[in-house]
Point group: C2
């Protein structure tokens, strides 16, 4: 007779992940002890994150780190400080994971003071957190360090929590029409089921609400994600999971300006800052709009670009990801127009124009992208 386990699949998956992370931290800790036992100075080897070691990988379609590595050795006086900070952070993160507690970048900075670990300022502790990410090749969210910014999600998506006190509990993210925050619990939850066939990421809360009101989730069988501007990492992580685990295509709607185009690009291929990670990109994500060419096509009300908008276009024109196709073309048209249009601009044609006309037209066009 087979005994039925009282633990759900989600709980077991979460526990296995936790054990893997703890084992990884332990292996680094052990190597410090082992070095000390051998009379050697302990050290960390960190993939170099200097500009010269960040390259765009066309196959992976994201930035990756090259082979260069940096040492943080207890032997070197100038590295002793960062070696100690890194050792403390690994210790602290180990505790966060064991105790199932979450933290923020700011919080880590202050927490160090409880242990008399000296960080000059938060940028210094932030930098050490990225070092640890690079060493472990795990996003800081896996290490229970979450962003302060929160975006949200809505749609027929059933998740099962794995955070303490909520293990095994399931919710369907269509029960609260204002949306569910994408925080630590949602990020660490298992995705159980969905009837959706598409994920629509949209830049603005007001339009997220419009989409829910106009039942875009039903009409287009979609999960709707509010990125609230540049998508926070936990939001990109969720988009990645919906794409990779559930096989859902991801499309992106953002304001018709250079920042909107880059919001889409970062969801698709990440950022140079996160070249050491693989969990934050959705290479097949499609940017639906608002394109520069949509501004003329739909005769949208526009706003003149500022100097910094134009400067940003020139910057992105140097980025390897903007060297071809539609990404390149739209930057050129933006530069020619020197004007931008917001998603709300479609309200010129009525409140539901964006959901009734623009969205279906662009989804049709996206099929050939």
């Amino acid at each position: 007779m087979k005994l039925k386990s009282s633990k759900s699949k989600a709980t077991k998956t979460a526990e296995a992940k936790k054990e893997r992370l703890l084992a990884l931290l332990k292996s680094h800790g052990s190597s410090i002890y082992s070095d000390l036992d051998k009379g050697k100075f302990p050290q960390f080897t960190i993939p170099s994150r200097s500009v010269s070691n960040i390259v765009y990988d066309k196959k992976l379609r994201q930035y990756i780190l090259g082979k260069a590595a940096a040492l943080r050795s207890a032997r070197n006086m100038s590295q002793l400080r960062s070696f100690t900070q890194l050792s403390w952070l690994a210790f602290f993160v180990n505790r966060l994971i064991r105790e199932g507690k979450s933290s923020t970048l700011r919080d880590i900075y202050y927490s160090s003071q409880a242990f008399a670990i000296d960080f000059e300022d938060q940028p210094e502790s932030d930098n050490i957190i990225v070092d640890l990410e690079a060493i472990l090749t795990h996003a800081r969210e896996d290490l229970h360090i979450f962003p302060e910014e929160r975006s949200s999600v809505f749609g027929d998506l059933t998740i099962e929590y794995t955070v303490p006190g909520y293990e095994g509990k399931r919710v369907n993210l269509s029960d609260h029409p204002d949306g569910y925050l994408i925080g630590p619990s949602l990020s660490s939850a298992e995705i159980v089921d969905t009837s959706a066939e598409l994920v629509i990421a949209i830049e603005k809360g007001g339009l997220f609400t419009r989409f829910v009101e106009e039942k875009v989730h039903k009409k287009f069988k979609a999960i709707i994600v509010d990125t609230a501007g540049q998508a926070p990492r936990s939001t990109r992580y969720l988009l990645k999971r919906l794409n990779a685990e559930m096989g859902l295509p991801v499309v992106i709607l953002a304001d018709g300006d250079v920042y909107g185009e880059h919001i889409a690009m970062v969801i698709k291929s990440g950022s140079a800052n996160a070249a050491h990670l693989r969990e934050l990109t959705v290479p097949d994500a499609k940017w639906l709009g608002v394109w520069a060419t949509d501004i003329e096509k739909y005769k949208l009300p526009t706003i003149p670009m500022t100097e910094s908008d134009i400067k940003r276009i020139y910057e992105l024109q140097k980025d390897p990801r903007y060297q071809e196709g539609n990404w390149k073309k739209q930057l050129e048209v933006f530069l020619k127009l020197k004007r931008k249009a917001e998603l709300e601009a479609f309200s010129k044609y009525g409140l539901t124009n964006i959901t009734d006309k623009y969205l279906p037209e662009k989804l049709e066009i996206a099929k050939s992208l």
Copy 2:
């Protein structure tokens, strides 16, 4: 035999509110028609929002408008533009309410273009929205115009939605530990039930998560609200309702600086900009901290104030609400210290110090405030 109504109390309350608002709009519309029938130029009478007409009411403990009023008459060439804008807005809002659709300030600006109504820029349309609020003495949220910013709430609070498609549906806001967005659906929902005895408003998302993790909602029988900085109006409206409808005391935790003190003050007594409204204040709300005096008492890590921090203290010292008691005292101590401390600073004493020590101590002190 008595037939049981198929509509819930919440649905009926919401419908009654909707009818009241539509009747109010209709009465203003009728007076325009009636003026026209009599051969008179139609006009709106708007309570004046000029600085000279805004007074602090010690009894109501908030700013209110005096008796001065302004006219927007179709007779006066210089008022014809704003008269027309206002008439259009009343028409448009009437449609939003009838159709159960929501909008944002930005969206209203663009929507006007669908009707060839001219607004120079968004500040002009924002201003007309406040005029309509003042005329109707209803917050723009009642008129289905919501802020873009969203904050969140968590705790044992059962609500019943009244928005289209969700009428009669209930949720308990403790099912999703990352928190529920306070958007149009939550703002318009009926509050059904709660076991909470207290509402804790906290300035930051990271600490909101910590409070949930440390089960503050259970230990202190509390509903926890993340204000995400200065509380958006829909958040202040929810705090007001939890206080007025459910009789729950409201306490506020914000960063230990002049902005934190003012976040608490605005939750308590509103702002001069909203002197025409009564739904956005919680006069009995208590500011728990972080006080300037807490910085020394708890030996918190601090950051030096900037020039603009100090300038802001001088500004608030002229505000009638900061002329006495603890509000006055703390401004003085901030000015003396010229340093500030964040809520996260308590992590110096361990991650749970803020929930295990600081919060209970301050709640005890609050009893005598």
